[in-house]
C-alpha cells in the first residue's frame, strides 16, 4: 500500500542510467524546470513525480520532440514561495531551462506565475488550485492544468442542489483554498437553490484541527447537510471523530477532493459512506487511454496511480503536445501554442484543452459517492465531470481576469 521510498529511488536510478541510451536525437535537449514542495507535501508529490517521469520516458522513447530529448531539472521549494522564486531564477539563469512547471501550493504557484510574467517566460502550473492563478492575477505566460477550486466547488454545488437539504454547515481549512471553496460553494448553491441557509461555519487551522470540538460545534447547529473542504490529516481526524459521534448519520455530505486516493486511502475502513465527492476512482476507469496508463504505471513503479500521478503525467503530455505544435522553444511561440492547445489526458475522456480566454485547462474530475468495499474506501456511481462545463461564461471570465 505505502509507496516505498526505496522503490522510487531505484526507479529514479534506473531512469538516470537508462535515459541517455534512448533517443539521442540531434539538437540539444529541451529542458523543463520543475519546482514543487517535495519535502512539504510528499504524499501527493511522490506519485506526481512518478507520473511526470513516466511521461518523460515515454516521450523520449518515442524519439523526443522534433528530434530533441526532454530533460527535467527538479527543485524542492519546501513549501516556501520565496524559495520557489529563487529556484525559478536559478533554473532560468544557471540551468538554462526552456520553460517552468510545477507548483503544489497556491501561493507558490502565484509567486512563480508572477515571476514568469515579469521575466516573460512560460510557466505551466500543474497543481495549484487557486482561482487567482488564471483569473484575478492571470497573466499571458501562465497556464494551469488542474480543475480549479471554483470548478470543483461547482461540481459539488450541482450535486448539492439536487438533494432536499436546507440547513448547511461548512467545515474548511483556514487559508485561501478553504475560504474560496466555501465562498464559491455558497454562492453557487444559493443561486441554484434559493432559500438554503448556512447555519454553521468552522475554519480549523490547516493541519491542526481540534476535531472533537469542531464536530461538536457543527452538531450543535443541527444542519441537514455538510460541505467539507478539509483534506489530509485534518480530514482523517474529522472523520474519525464524526463517525464516533454520529455526526454524519442521516446527513448529506459533499466533500472536496475526498475521492482522491491520496486522501481517501489513509481513511482505510473509516472511510464514510455516501458522501458526494470529487476524486479519482483509479481502479474503475476503463477508457483505453486510462487502462494503458494504469497498467504501465503499475508495472513501472509497482504501485497504483494516485491523482498526483495523473497530474504529473498530464502536465508533461500537454507540454509535449505544445512543443510539437510550437516547433521550438521560443517563449512567445510556446505561449501562442498553449492557447487552445488540445491534448489527451490519462483519464482518456476525450480531448482536453487549455482555454485561450483564461489559460485554464478543461481537465475535469470524477464526481461520485464514497463507499466501503473490502475494508477500504472507493467511489461508486461516479461520472466524469468535464471541466469545460463547470466554468463561468466567457463574459464573466472577462470580468474576472485582467484583460489586455
Amino acid at each position: 500500500m505505502t509507496m516505498k521510498r526505496r522503490t522510487m529511488m531505484k526507479a529514479a536510478a534506473i531512469a538516470a542510467v537508462a535515459a541517455p541510451s534512448i533517443a539521442r536525437g540531434q539538437g540539444a535537449a529541451i529542458r523543463i524546470g520543475e519546482i514543487n514542495s517535495y519535502t512539504a507535501q510528499p504524499a501527493f508529490l511522490a506519485p506526481y513525480r512518478n507520473g511526470w517521469n513516466l511521461a518523460i520516458e515515454e516521450a523520449n522513447a518515442a524519439g523526443g520532440v522534433n528530434g530533441r530529448r526532454l530533460e527535467t531539472v527538479f527543485r524542492d521549494d519546501a513549501g516556501k514561495p520565496e524559495d520557489a522564486v529563487r529556484f525559478a531564477g536559478e533554473l532560468l539563469a544557471a540551468e538554462k531551462v526552456d520553460l517552468l512547471s510545477g507548483g503544489f501550493l497556491s501561493n507558490v504557484g502565484l509567486a512563480i506565475a508572477d515571476f514568469a510574467n515579469q521575466n516573460k517566460r512560460l510557466y505551466v502550473a500543474s497543481e495549484p488550485l487557486s482561482d487567482a492563478l488564471v483569473w484575478g492575477r492571470g497573466n499571458r505566460y501562465t497556464f494551469r492544468l488542474r480543475p480549479s477550486t471554483y470548478m470543483q466547488a461547482a461540481m459539488l454545488a450541482e450535486e448539492a442542489a439536487k438533494v432536499d437539504a436546507r440547513r448547511w454547515a461548512i467545515v474548511s481549512p483556514n487559508y485561501e483554498y478553504g475560504q474560496s471553496a466555501a465562498k464559491w460553494f455558497k454562492e453557487l448553491l444559493v443561486r441554484a437553490k434559493p432559500g438554503v441557509e448556512f447555519v454553521a461555519e468552522q475554519f480549523p487551522a490547516l493541519g491542526r484541527i481540534d476535531a472533537g470540538a469542531t464536530v461538536q460545534a457543527i452538531e450543535q447547529s443541527r444542519p441537514d447537510a455538510i460541505f467539507n473542504v478539509t483534506f489530509g490529516g485534518d480530514l482523517t481526524n474529522f472523520v474519525r471523530q464524526g463517525n464516533t459521534r454520529g455526526l454524519f448519520e442521516k446527513r448529506f455530505v459533499a466533500s472536496m477532493l475526498t475521492g482522491e486516493p491520496e486522501y481517501m486511502d489513509p481513511l482505510r475502513d473509516e472511510c464514510p459512506e455516501g458522501w458526494v465527492v470529487t476524486g479519482y476512482p483509479w481502479d474503475q476507469i476503463q477508457t483505453a487511454n486510462h487502462r494503458r496508463f494504469r497498467d504501465t504505471y503499475q508495472k513501472r513503479f509497482n504501485d497504483y496511480p494516485r491523482l498526483g500521478s495523473v497530474v504529473g503525467y498530464d502536465t508533461v503530455v500537454s507540454i509535449v503536445a505544445m512543443l510539437r505544435k510550437s516547433g521550438g522553444t521560443d517563449t512567445e511561440k510556446m505561449v501562442d501554442a498553449m492557447k487552445g492547445l488540445p491534448f489527451e489526458s490519462a483519464f482518456g475522456e476525450g480531448p482536453v484543452l487549455y482555454r485561450a480566454i483564461d489559460h485554464q485547462s478543461t481537465l475535469g474530475a470524477y464526481v461520485g459517492k464514497t463507499a466501503l468495499k473490502g475494508g477500504k474506501g472507493t467511489m461508486v456511481g461516479w461520472r466524469y465531470a468535464d471541466g469545460a462545463r463547470y466554468l463561468p461564461s466567457d463574459d464573466v471570465v472577462r470580468t474576472l481576469r485582467p484583460q489586455g
Binding site: M1, T2, M3, K4, R5, M9, T39, P42, A43, L45, R75, D76, A78, K80, P81, E82, D83, V85, R86, G89, E90, A93, A94, N107, L110, A111, A113, D114, F115, Q118, R137, N174, Y175, E176, Q179, E201, Q202, F203, P204, A205, G207, R208, D210, A211, G212, A213, Q216, A217, Q220, G232, G233, T236, N237, R240, T244, R245, G246, P266, R268, E270
Partner: protein, 612 residues
C-alpha cells in the same frame, strides 16, 4: 447547556493530549535549561513506533496498551541517545546554543521518518474495548476521549508523587532551582540529566502513542505541535508541571469555546492567550523567577574591543570581492549574493539584540515581514515606488518594535523570546487572514524594484551598499556609548541601574533599532523576490535567523555575518544537490555544533587568540 458541558469535555480531552507532551518539555527545560526543539519529533516518533507495533498485534487490550508503553520507552531511549551523544557535549556553550543542535535532530528525524514510514498519512487501529461512544447528556461522546480525560490528571499525580516522594524527584526539583548548588553538593549531574531526558522523551512518546487511536499519524506532526507545546510550557511557567497542566487546560478550553464565537480565530488563539498571560505574569502562571537570571553561558562573554587589523583587512577584502562580483559571476550567483547580503543584515539585526543586548527573540521575522509588507502594501494600495517603500519600511518595522518592545523588555530569557514569538504570530495571522488588505496567504504580487534598479547587477550593488552599510552601522552602535550601556544592562542589570542607566529604556531602544534594521532587510527581500507572503513573518524564518546567529557565534560581532553566509549557502547547495537534503542539513548542523560550540566565528577567534 448540555452542549456547553460536552464542549467542556472536548476541551479536557485536548488538554490531556497537550499536557503529556508539554510536561516532558517543561521537565527537560527545568533541569537542563535546554530548549528542546526536537520534542515534537519525539512525539511524532512515539506515534509512528506505536502505530507500527499495535498494527502487528492481535486486537487485545492488554497487548495494545503494552505496545503503547513499549513505544514510549523506545522514544525515551531515543531521548537518552540524543542527550548522551549530542547535548552532553555542549552544555557549556552559550545560552540557547543547544537549540541549534536539537534543530538538527528535527531535520534528521523528518527524513528518517519519511524513509521508514513513507509519505502517506497512516491511520492506526482504534483502541480495543474503546472503539465506540457513550451517551452523555443526550450526546454521543467517544470512550477513548473519556480515557484521555482521565490520563492527564493521572500522569500529573504520578509525576507529583515522583517529584515529592522519591530521592530522584527531590534532586530534580533541587536542580530545577539551582543546578550549580546541586552539583556542588556532589550529585552526579550527568546521570541526573540523562534520566531527566529519558522521562521527558518518554512523556513525549506517550503523548504521541496515545494519538494513534485518535488521529492520523503524519509527517507534519512534529512541527504542528511544537509551537503549541512551547506555548503551554511557557504559559504554565517553565519547569512547572502543574503549570503546564493548567496552561494546557486553559488553552484547550479557550479553543473549544473560542471556535463557537469566532470560527476563524483558530490560527492565533493560542498565541493571544500566551501574549496576555506573559504581559500579566512575566514568568507564566506558576513559574518563578530564576534564582540566577543570567546562566553560566554568558558570564564568559568578553569585553568587546575594536576589531584587530587582520580582521578589518579580511572584512575589507570580502566586501571588495562582493563589490566586483557582478561581471565575474553568473546571473544566478547574483541572485544568491543578493539574498545573502540581505540575510546578513537580517542576522546582524537579530544579533544586535541577542548578543550585546542579551534579548533572544523567537519572533524576529515579524519585523522583517513588517518591512516587506510596508513596501508591498504601499505599492499595492497607493502605487508607491520602491524608494518610498524602502524609506517607510524601517519606520514601520521600528514602530512595531517600539510597540512590542514596550511589553517585551521587562521579561527575561526564554519568556522574553516566547513573548516576541507570540507577537510575531499575531502579526503573521493578521497578514494571513486579513485577505482584503494583505491578500491573505496568496500574498502581494508585482512588488518589483523601480526601473533604474531592475537590472540584477544594479539591484545587487544597491542591496550590497545598504546591507553592508546597515551591518556596519549596527557594529558602530555596539562600539558606541549606547552599546556599552546595553552590554552593562545585559551583564548586570542591578549595577547598571545603580550607576544611573535606565535598563528597560536602553533595551527598548535596542529592540526598536534592531527591528528597524530587520525591516530594511525585509523590504529589500520583497523587492528582490517581487512578491510578499505571510511566510516572510512565519516561525521558520524567525528560526532561520536564530540558527544563523547561533551558528556564527553569538559572542562575536562577525558571528551573524559568518552564520548567515554559512547557513544559507549550505542549505542552498544541499537542496539542489541532495534529495534527502533535510537529513544532510541536519547532520551538517550537528557536526558544526559539535565542532564549534562557540559558533564558527567564536571558534576562529578562540583559535586565533590562543595562537597569539
Amino acid at each position: 447547556m448540555e452542549f456547553l458541558a460536552i464542549q467542556f469535555l472536548n476541551g479536557l480531552a485536548s488538554a490531556s493530549s497537550l499536557f503529556l507532551v508539554a510536561s516532558g518539555l517543561t521537565i527537560i527545560f527545568g533541569v537542563t535549561r535546554v530548549v528542546n526543539f526536537a520534542h515534537g519529533s519525539l512525539y511524532m516518533l512515539g506515534a509512528y513506533i506505536a502505530l507500527t507495533i499495535v498494527s502487528q498485534l492481535p486486537r487485545d487490550p492488554w497487548l495494545y496498551w503494552s505496545g503503547i508503553l513499549v513505544a514510549s520507552v523506545v522514544v525515551g531511549l531515543v531521548g537518552v541517545a540524543i542527550e548522551m551523544l549530542l547535548l552532553r557535549r555542549i552544555y557549556q556553550a552559550p545560552e540557547l546554543f543547544q537549540l541549534l543542535a536539537t534543530f538538527g535532530v528535527v531535520l534528521v528525524v523528518e527524513d528518517v521518518a519519511l524513509w521508514i514510514w513513507g509519505p502517506e498519512d497512516r491511520l492506526g487501529p482504534r483502541a480495543p474495548g474503546l472503539r465506540g461512544a457513550v451517551e452523555i447528556l443526550g450526546q454521543r461522546f467517544p470512550q477513548y476521549e473519556l480515557l484521555l480525560i482521565a490520563i492527564g490528571p493521572v500522569v500529573l499525580l504520578l509525576l507529583w508523587l515522583l517529584f515529592t516522594r522519591t530521592r530522584w524527584g527531590t534532586l530534580v526539583r533541587a536542580a530545577t532551582q539551582d543546578r550549580e548548588m546541586v552539583a556542588a553538593l556532589g550529585v552526579d549531574q550527568r546521570w541526573l540529566f540523562t534520566s531527566v531526558f529519558f522521562l521527558g522523551a518518554f512523556l513525549a512518546g506517550l503523548g504521541g502513542a496515545l494519538q494513534v487511536a485518535r488521529a492520523p499519524t503524519t509527517l507534519h506532526m512534529d512541527l504542528d505541535i511544537i509551537a503549541e507545546v512551547f506555548v503551554v510550557t511557557v504559559v504554565g511557567g517553565m519547569g512547572s508541571v502543574p503549570g503546564a497542566f493548567l496552561a494546557a487546560l486553559l488553552i484547550s478550553q479557550m479553543h473549544a469555546f473560542g471556535i463557537m464565537v469566532f470560527p476563524k480565530i483558530t490560527l492565533v488563539l493560542t498565541f493571544l492567550v500566551m501574549a496576555v498571560v506573559l504581559v500579566v505574569r512575566p514568568y507564566g502562571l506558576l513559574g518563578r523567577p530564576p534564582t540566577h537570571p543570567r546562566a553560566a553561558g554568558l558570564a564568559r562573554a568578553q569585553p568587546i574591543g575594536p576589531a584587530p587589523r587582520e580582521l578589518r583587512l579580511v572584512g575589507l577584502l570580502a566586501l571588495a570581492a562582493a563589490a566586483i562580483l557582478p561581471p565575474l559571476a553568473g546571473e544566478y550567483a547574483l541572485i544568491m549574493a543578493t539574498e545573502m547580503a540581505i540575510l546578513v543584515l537580517f542576522a546582524a539585526s537579530l544579533h544586535f539584540m541577542m548578543g550585546p543586548g542579551g534579548l533572544a527573540s523567537f519572533g524576529h521575522a515579524a519585523y522583517f515581514g513588517v518591512g516587506a509588507y510596508a513596501g508591498a502594501l504601499l505599492m499595492k494600495h497607493f502605487g508607491a515606488p520602491m524608494e518610498l517603500g524602502l524609506a517607510v519600511a524601517p519606520v514601520a518595522a521600528g514602530l512595531a518594535g517600539v510597540v512590542v518592545g514596550f511589553f517585551v523588555v521587562r521579561l527575561e530569557g526564554v519568556y522574553l523570546a516566547m513573548l516576541t514569538l507570540a507577537f510575531a504570530q499575531i502579526a503573521w495571522s493578521a497578514a494571513f487572514q486579513w485577505v482584503e488588505v494583505t491578500g491573505g496567504d496568496n500574498g502581494i504580487l508585482g512588488v518589483w524594484p523601480s526601473a533604474w534598479a531592475r537590472d540584477r547587477t544594479v539591484y545587487y550593488l544597491f542591496v550590497l551598499a545598504l546591507c553592508a552599510g546597515g551591518t556596519l552601522a549596527l557594529r558602530h552602535a555596539i562600539h558606541s556609548p549606547f552599546g556599552y550601556a546595553l552590554r552593562a544592562a545585559r551583564d548586570n542589570p542591578l549595577r547598571a541601574e545603580a550607576i544611573g542607566l535606565d535598563v528597560a529604556r536602553i533595551r527598548w531602544v535596542a529592540f526598536a533599532l534592531a527591528s528597524a534594521f530587520a525591516g530594511i532587510a525585509g523590504a529589500l527581500f520583497a523587492y528582490a523576490k517581487g512578491s510578499v507572503f505571510p511566510t516572510y513573518l512565519a516561525i521558520p524564518r524567525s528560526v532561520d535567523a536564530l540558527l544563523m546567529v547561533l551558528l556564527g557565534g553569538v559572542e562575536t560581532l562577525s558571528g551573524p555575518i559568518i552564520g548567515a553566509l554559512a547557513f544559507h549557502g549550505l542549505q542552498e547547495q544541499l537542496v539542489r544537490v541532495v534529495e534527502h537534503w533535510r537529513a544532510a542539513m541536519g547532520l551538517a548542523i550537528i557536526v558544526l555544533v559539535l565542532a564549534f560550540p562557540q559558533g564558527i566565528a567564536g571558534h576562529v577567534r578562540d583559535r586565533w587568540e590562543r595562537a597569539r
